[in-house]
Assembly symmetry: C2
Homo-oligomer: 112 residues x 2
DNA sequence: AAGGTAAGTTTCGTTTTGGAACTATGGCAA
DNA sequence: TTGCCATAGTTCCAAAACGAAACTTACCTT
């Protein structure tokens, strides 16, 4: 079965994951909740490659989770901002954060 | 940057995603919360392929999210059951479920 | 002996990802 | 008015992950 077929799954968790459950997507949304909205900000913050980011942004906009708002017309430039639908993912991010804090300690690479 | 490098990220969301944020993993955990515990159950329920499931189960056991409990020794067979660490992912699944229910309606393929 | 069940493993061809370079558009400074 | 910088992508290629299906192992039933 293809991952993309999940969008029609009977299970709401599966449908949610069909758009938000792949590599990087939730990390972009985390950055949005931290106030970021631009391509280069996402790149620097997340460490993902440029063309994966471009792909994810497109998908998030198509899914109605982010909205693409021009902040410059001369060279066309856009802010990517959370829609209401996107805003409502906050609880999911927060529960993941709490779980990560509690159960995924930073194992420091014994340096120095 | 490699996806697997996220486990050392400063951000607890990123660290959580390093283990739980790839394709299929959260779907397996959903099945666990629905009471499933065996290989063939996961296969039938999720629609993923066998060797991907085998890989994910191994990673989840290594991460201490699932525990491998023998239910038969003659042919060695195991149940995969949630540890406490795994149980505590329930809120994350529930918030995703709620979001999916609200924002990802099943679009039925205009059949019949 | 033949077939069935459960849990993987292997193989192979297709997608997705990572890394880096390249393009487009305009601002600004020399 | 040429040259450099910034932003936001796009393109190319090699490496890794994935999907489908067949194969394996170990036992059990008929």
């Amino acid at each position: 079965m293809k991952w993309s077929d999940l969008s029609d799954n009977w299970c709401p968790v599966a449908r949610a994951l069909s758009i938000v459950g792949d590599r990087w997507t939730l990390l972009i949304l985390r950055d949005c909740f931290l106030g970021m909205s631009r391509f280069e900000q996402f790149i620097e913050s997340s460490g993902m490659t440029r063309h994966i980011l471009a792909d994810r942004l497109k998908r998030l906009v198509e899914a109605g989770i982010l909205e693409r708002k021009a902040y410059s017309t001369s060279p066309k430039r856009y802010d990517y901002v959370l829609t209401d639908k996107g805003q409502e993912l906050a609880p999911a991010l927060l529960t993941l954060r709490d779980w990560g804090k509690k159960h995924m300690p930073v194992r420091r690479t014994t340096s120095a």
